[in-house]
């Protein structure tokens, strides 16, 4: 079969070792910090030690998240309590005149939206994509907020499936400050902890509203996905 044929060719190709000169070129560099151990640990460490630093404390993380969010045009709102998160969402509803809101079966999301007088679409169970397309906003939870990149890490479990966070023109994420982690590697570790070997079929780092610069490098938000991304973090 093709599998064996291809793997056979790969094995045969690899029976000759890589030219040491070519391999050497990669190692040598006058500008680099001491090279970390090869392999996975070295690389996870590299993310902390070589990529941009965002400090250790929650305050530093929030500050870094804020700076990048401004650049990305993500609306990042830090509120002191669940009550104020509910108010923030109510204000957003008024401002953007939401009528149809997509949500999912998620404790924090449900607590934050149950006061809204709008039509709801629940995407935690089989739903109609055309109905989702007509929603003004999708409100979801997340697995983590990543300080180093100002991303919301979601899976289809934490975000009501694959489409809720990308099909409506506005995506709102509600999160708790305890979900803030330093790097993307920390984010993966959280999902690993939560799901073990039974990975969700969809994981995504959402970093700002959808964008394109394909026409003359001019930045346009909302290419295909949401034009607006709001992240509400409760820091009680």
């Amino acid at each position: 079969m093709s599998r064996d044929a291809i793997l056979g060719r790969v094995r045969e190709a690899l029976s000759v070792e890589t030219d040491t000169h070519v391999r050497e070129v990669v190692k040598k560099s006058p500008h680099s910090l001491p090279v970390l151990a090869n392999g996975p640990d070295g690389r996870t460490q590299a993310v902390k030690e070589f990529l941009p630093s965002v400090g250790e404390s929650l305050e530093e993380h929030i500050a870094a998240f804020k700076v990048l969010s401004d650049k990305l045009q993500t609306e990042f709102i830090v509120v002191p309590s669940i009550d104020s998160a509910r108010q923030a969402i109510e204000q957003l509803r008024q401002k953007h005149e939401w009528e149809r809101v997509a949500v999912h079966n998620h404790d924090l999301v449900q607590t934050c939206v149950n006061q809204l007088s709008v039509e709801f679409l629940d995407t935690s169970v089989n739903y109609d994509a055309h109905a989702l397309e007509k929603c003004d906003v999708g409100i979801s939870g997340c697995d983590a907020l990543i300080a180093q990149t100002a991303s919301a890490l979601v899976t289809n479990h934490s975000a009501g499936g694959r489409a809720l966070s990308v099909l409506p023109p506005h995506h709102v994420v509600v999160a708790d400050a305890s979900q803030m982690v330093t790097t993307m590697a920390d984010g993966f570790a959280l999902i690993r902890e939560k799901h073990g070997d039974n990975w969700p079929s969809f994981i995504s780092f959402i970093t700002g509203p959808s964008r394109t610069a394909d026409i003359e490098r001019v930045l346009v938000l909302g290419a295909h996905g949401p034009k607006k991304l709001t992240i509400i973090m409760i820091s009680a």
Binding site: M1, S2, I6, L7, V10, E12, A13, L14, T18, D19, V22, V25, V26, S29, S32, V35, N38, T44, A46, V47, E49, F50, L51, P52, H104, T123, N126, A129, H130, E133, S151, N156, G161, R162, A163, V166, F188, W199, P200, S201, F202, I203, S204, F205, I206, T207, G208, S210, T212, A213, D214, I215, E216, R217, V218, V220, G222, A223, H224, G225
Partner: protein, 468 residues
């Protein structure tokens, strides 16, 4: 693009034409200057970008040097999650595997998110011939598809077009309003494509990485089109080259920022999604079937080269194109390849044959800007030299080159003859001065694009003697 059969002639013709278009070249340059500025700023935020490059390069070395193990692990994991893996030796096999899936589902329309590998196997031509509607959803790809053109740059497919040209195109093909505002143009495309996502039966995507440990593909994008392509249609087909593997999930935490920084200058691209299988039992949406089509198409031939397998570590960020003086002057279409620029020049001779594509090894000034910018430290400019060496070694240089090299060897081995030639050369230069730049100059063709300075009064040898 001229449709010449011989790639070398086509390159030369197109290069001449494009380099003469000063306006377009300066347009290209100014856009690449913008890229450079953003990228520099992002890179400067790193604690050590140089070390991060080494670590990222290391991850890809580990993957490539153990590709047999990781590929098998990747496929097994994916299958255990309910996906189907298709192993395809060449374009033909990949095309028929994909066609079979589409036919089996009685599909009518196909939506695609950006995937260079589908360009490599000419998938769109086939599907359109078979009567399917195929829509490219990435904005840049959508534009070049409407123009019936190949992507100009594998990261910025429509970078050569001005907004006025896109306006004309949209008015003509989409009957859209008259506007050359990039935002309004983008919204025109958004509206057209929205409906396509909802109605398409099949979504086809590429993959930027294949995670061996967990059996997931990872897709990087800014627009959200790949997310929609892999969320709404009931079947998802992902086509990926076998070299896209990385060992572990956590490696993405390093590779994704590196790809973004080098590729567009962003610290991270808007959506970085990992997909491992179709919709699972406890999930409410997503495709019912996921097919991953693994493509060899002579990648194993490149892998068998102990020097140049290095190039399989490429993460297709496109940075080497952006800094390449040749790319800036001849543009993307001139290459006539799926992958343009330095990386394209290195790998195309391996993927499509050295004989027809060796001229690409000369489309380099050997300045080394590509190797210096590559986020995984591929030794690009030396590989171009190695390709030249290999072409020469196989006697593919042609008769003129052979005669020239023979003459060179004879002269260089005989000091008296070398001295004599030097003197004759000087005399010849002075004597032919009146005809320089005219057509009767025997070196007209060579001098047409070059200035030949007067030789120095004193040769190096004379200088060396006199200084003692």
């Amino acid at each position: 693009m001229s449709q010449s059969t011989n790639p070398t002639t086509q390159f030369q013709t197109d290069a001449n034409r494009v380099t003469a278009d000063v306006d377009r070249r300066s347009f290209l340059r100014s856009s690449l200057r913008g890229y450079q500025k953003t990228r520099t700023a992002t890179q400067e935020r790193f604690l050590s970008y140089e070390s991060a490059r080494i670590a990222a390069g290391d991850a890809k070395w580990e993957a490539i040097e153990n590709l047999d193990v990781y590929l098998a692990q990747f496929a097994d994991k994916l299958e255990s999650r309910g996906a189907t893996v298709h192993w395809c030796s060449d374009s033909e096999e990949a095309r028929s595997a994909i066609l079979e899936i589409i036919k089996k589902h009685d599909a009518k329309s196909v939506i695609k998110s950006k995937c260079m590998t589908t360009e490599e196997i000419h998938l769109n031509e086939l599907l359109e011939k078979e009567g399917f509607e195929v829509v490219e959803s990435d904005l840049g790809e959508f534009i070049v598809q409407l123009r019936d053109e190949a992507p100009y740059h594998f990261v910025f497919p429509a970078m050569h077009l001005k907004k006025e040209e896109i306006n004309t195109l949209f008015q003509e093909k989409l009957k859209s309003i008259n506007t050359d505002d990039p935002e309004e143009l983008t919204m025109v495309a958004r509206e057209v494509l929205r409906q396509k996502y909802l109605s398409a039966d099949i979504g086809i995507s590429g993959a930027n990485f294949g995670v061996a440990e967990t059996g997931m593909i990872s897709i990087t994008e800014n627009e959200g089109n790949a997310r929609l392509t892999t969320a709404l249609p009931k079947v998802h087909i992902a086509l990926m080259g076998i070299e896209k593997i990385i060992p572990r999930l956590e490696d993405l935490a390093l590779m994704l920022p590196m790809l973004a920084t080098a590729g567009t200058g962003q610290h991270l691209t808007c959506y970085n999604s990992q997909l491992g299988g179709p919709r699972q039992d406890d999930e409410s949406d997503g495709p019912l079937e996921m097919h991953v089509v693994l493509l060899d198409n002579h990648r194993t031939r490149l892998l068998a080269d102990p020097e140049q397998r290095d190039a399989l570590r490429c993460i297709r960020c496109g940075a080497c194109l952006n800094v390449c003086p040749i790319f800036k002057n001849v543009g993307g279409h001139t290459y006539g390849t799926t992958y343009q620029g330095p990386i394209g020049s290195v790998i195309t001779p391996h993927l499509r044959g050295l004989k027809d594509w060796k001229h690409l090894s000369h489309s380099s000034s050997l300045c080394g800007a590509c190797s210096e910018t590559c986020p995984v430290k591929i030794d690009l400019h030396h590989h171009l030299l190695r390709n030249r060496r290999d072409a020469a070694g196989k006697g593919q240089g042609g008769l003129a080159e052979k005669v020239l090299m023979l003459g060179f060897t004879i002269v260089m081995r005989r000091p008296w003859l070398y001295r004599l030639t030097g003197r004759l050369g000087k005399i010849g230069h002075v004597l032919t001065k009146p005809i320089h730049g005219t057509r009767i100059d025997p070196f007209y063709a060579w001098k047409k694009t070059r200035d030949l300075d007067d030789p120095a009064k004193q040769s190096f040898k004379q200088y060396w003697k006199s200084r003692k």
